[in-house]
Amino acid sequence: MGNGLRAALALAARDVRAELRSRTALTSALVFAALVLVVFNFARDPTRLGVADLAPSALWITFAFGAMTTLNRAFAIEKEHGALDLLRLAPMPREAIYAGKLLANLAFVGVVEAVALPLFVVFFNRPVWHVLGPLLLVTALATIGFVAVGTLLSAMAVRTRFAELMLPLLLLPFMLPPVIGAVQVTARLFADRPLSEVSGWLRLLAVYDVVFVTISVLIFPAVADE
């Protein structure tokens, strides 16, 4: 177990170091996030729809699609160089490969969200400081959910011919519960509602995370092994 954890962390560290050097996935995701926010602001009728109504959706669509553009990256690189074999030859359990990729993906998506959030605050003129804690909590819960499934699905999608299409097609249904929950909670936070009102949603998100992280870890060997 200790060996697996160490290997997973080494893998995550390697992917992060490599990404910091090339910055391709992060740059495209950040540009994309900024674009979505800008388009959202213009793609509405200002007289009909107030910014407040749109804000939670805009934020979460930005997060969700920004995450999608980074997710393929982790496994695409391995496929380019056939290096998944290298990981499978090492004395590390298959689950640790998934765990390492998951941690790396969470780091990347976390960066995208960390940049998109201030941009959101600026573009939508929406203060979030007073609800930052709960907002970070719901963001973490929802993100873990769809990144966990996205990491698993991208391991398969990269081996198909239409990887960029296959991942969104497979992942979209799995984004529904986290995104619905996240938008509901975010909307209430922005409306200064008490946290107790959203405890049901937060619980749903937490259960979703536990179920899907567990199943992804357990089922990854079926994906990785020929």
Binding site: A7, A10, R17, A18, R21, A83, R88, P91, P93, P221
Partner: protein
Amino acid sequence: MRPSDGSLLTAIDIERAFGARRALAGVSLVVHPGEAVLLAGPNGAGKTTLLRCLAGLARPTRGTVQVHGRALRVGDAASRRHIGMVAHQTWLHDDLTLLENLAFAARLHGMPRPREVAAAALERAGLGARAGELPPSLSRGMQQRAAIARALLHEPDIVLLDEPFSGLDAAACTALRATMTGVVAGEGAVIVVSHQPNEVWDVVTRVVGLRAGRVMFDTPKTDTSAALTSELSELGVG
């Protein structure tokens, strides 16, 4: 610990099939220390599939592989310490330096002081000066040398090579042959897949011919070369 017959690697009746496709059918092989085995055969014979089963990368649909007498299950970590593999692809990450690439491999094998181990290995491979460079800026020969250094990092006694000579210049080929000889001399074993036996002929001690997923012949190289050559050409191999 070694099994009673002293074998390093044993394949028992390996079969690998899915649906109609049968890549391997009833292949058995025992490899002892000091052997350099050539897996020869035409394209599609199952050489790469067999090598991947021996490496633990592919799970046979029937049969077992044993490493040091211990069954190699695909998820099994302990047996993999004995195995090193060099593939046609280098498996080097393009955004990491040679040193970082090898240090990562060292870390995966749980070696202490990974960066030092990696630096030493690169020195031995004659790549010390280029250790801080990224793979795309190096020739294929140098990349392959780094890949070989990485495969040997954890001092495996079973080294598997899949078409390792393709794209290499003469000097790199010579160096690779020397490395293989070194492993064999150190009581390890080498199994190499090549559809160009000339490249590796001098090092090889035993030839296994495959066709359509079956072993056609399995003879030591000390046989009269005429008989062996004719068997090889029957297989359709140079």
